[in-house]
Amino acid sequence: MTTNTTASTEVTQVATTRPVQPTLGWAPWRRAFWYHATFWSRTWRGQVISSFLFPVLYLASMGLGVGKLVNHHSGGVSGVTYLEFVAPALLAMTGMQIASNESMWPILASFKWTRSYWTAVSTPITPRDLVIGKLSWVAVHVAMVGVIYTCVLEAFQTLLSPWAVLLPLAGVLTGLAYAAPIAAFTATQENEKSFPVFYRFAIIPMFLFSGSFYPISQLPSWLRVVVQFVPLYHGVAICRTLALGQGSLATTGYHVGVLVALAVLGAYLCDRNFRKRLEA
């Protein structure tokens, strides 16, 4: 509704000759955001089944199937069943997954193939609007999926603490810690060659070694140090704290701090690189 009021005040000044004028309105970035939302609303159907099905399948296989083996031998992990242990990691993993997918091919496509960023900057939209629009879209996308996943986790009775309502937010934070730096990188790329390599040598190892499937105390000590630099590790730790109600404020603050720092640094680089490329 705010849109219309902003538009109409400017309209009154010029109503004599033309009915409606383009305006700058408030927060132009939201139009870049709506671009993504509109696009998604036209193509989401294919994803919806997998959005619901994936967490169910994953929990059934890893949580219940492998969980039976783990619980049988070790009686659970960190004082909870294996299912309760792996379930919250799903939120952080999804944040990483959505964010990295959204920040590689689609962004390069907008620069090179559909050229929709060039289209946008020929209108009142600025490169910064595009960055804010993109990142806020990633946040909303992760949040939507995060709410669904949190409901699935609740259905599997894996949420032990009321703090679990914040799980989608933890997913969003993890997502932004990935989306912003990756988008900044993508903005410097001329082709998609580096993406599969990045996916296989960064995303997959992070997925496998960041404490999602077992506590990082199982890892050799040098890997435990490396993992401190992996956003997913921090995301998983936050999600687990929220879902299980374990963990101290100080450590959680540390994990949140690392992710916020990455997101902010990434957003700064994004802004710089988008501008460099689009204003050349």
Binding site: G46, S61, G65, V66, K193, R200, I204, L208, Y214, Q218
Partner: protein, 268 residues
């Protein structure tokens, strides 16, 4: 006339020709520049093996299969081998074939040369297989180096992996000719993901209730997993002949369907 159409339905020696090799050459040339992409494909299953071995070996202890207690990594490794054969050949057969068929129209230009529809299908399949075999060999070497091979029979995992590749490549290529847009690939993933997670890859089939066991036994990936696991242990039974037969029939049906569909799409 009758003979020709019979041969078309039941491909024998007359199926395809030596010219299929040119498709293989084409792909080798294309990938010569993207070799790192090819090489990187090998690391994914290795990362899985390392991660699960490091983390879960200790938490799970020994897994009992065929009256033997084996480490979790040794249990999972053959499953990973079969899975990577499936994933590798499915991705190549569906994504790349779709791209060449619908987007790039590579095959249309190939059809303007002496190559036949069967040559294209055969050439693409052998490419999938070459690639898949390379991955399987290197994965097997890693398995051995990590101490996850349990008997000398483990060497048989190689032909098993290649057969699994063939079955999924030919079925995937056939399926790919029915896909209309990139969005339809969600359906492919919808088929692959449950198989990956549930075909006795991560935990023994005995954990399922009886009726679910039947469902799992019917999936194509389970055949590959069961064969590879049996070979790794050096334990053989008649059921394994059934698994192998399943994959052979699947490969065969896939090839026939693929060339039929290619003929329909490329020579309208």
């Amino acid at each position: 006339m009758a003979l020709a159409s019979t041969l078309r339905v039941f491909p024998t020696g007359a199926f395809g020709s030596r010219r299929a090799v040119h498709m293989l050459e084409r792909n080798t040339m294309i990938y010569r520049k993207g070799w790192y992409f090819l090489v990187s494909g090998f690391f994914e299953p290795l990362f899985y093996l390392l991660s699960l071995g490091i983390g879960l070996n200790h938490l799970i202890g020994d897994v009992h299969v065929a009256n033997r207690a084996v480490t979790y990594a040794a249990f999972v490794a053959p499953g990973m081998l079969a899975t990577s054969a499936m994933n590798g050949s499915m991705l190549d057969a569906t994504f790349n074939t779709f791209f060449r068929l619908r987007v790039d129209h590579t095959y249309d230009s190939v059809m303007a040369t002496p190559l036949s529809v069967e040559d294209i299908a055969l050439g693409e399949l052998s490419w999938c297989l070459t690639r898949g075999s390379l991955y399987s060999v290197s994965f097997l070497v890693c398995m051995w180096a990590l101490g996850d091979t349990l008997s000398a029979w483990a060497i048989l995992c190689l032909p098993i992996a290649i057969l699994t590749s063939l079955a999924f490549a030919s079925a995937g290529m056939a399926a790919c000719t029915f896909l209309r847009s990139w969005q339809d690939f969600d359906l492919v993933m919808l088929a692959l993901l449950p198989m990956f997670l549930f075909s006795a890859t991560f935990f023994p089939i005995g954990q399922y209730p009886g009726w679910l066991q039947l469902v799992v036994r019917a999936t194509p990936l389970y055949q590959g997993v069961a064969l590879a696991r049996g070979c790794n242990l050096g334990v053989f039974n008649w059921a394994m002949a059934g698994h192998a037969g399943y994959l052979v029939v699947m490969s065969f049906a896939g090839i026939v369907l693929t060339s039929r569909r290619f003929r329909k799409l490329l020579t309208p």
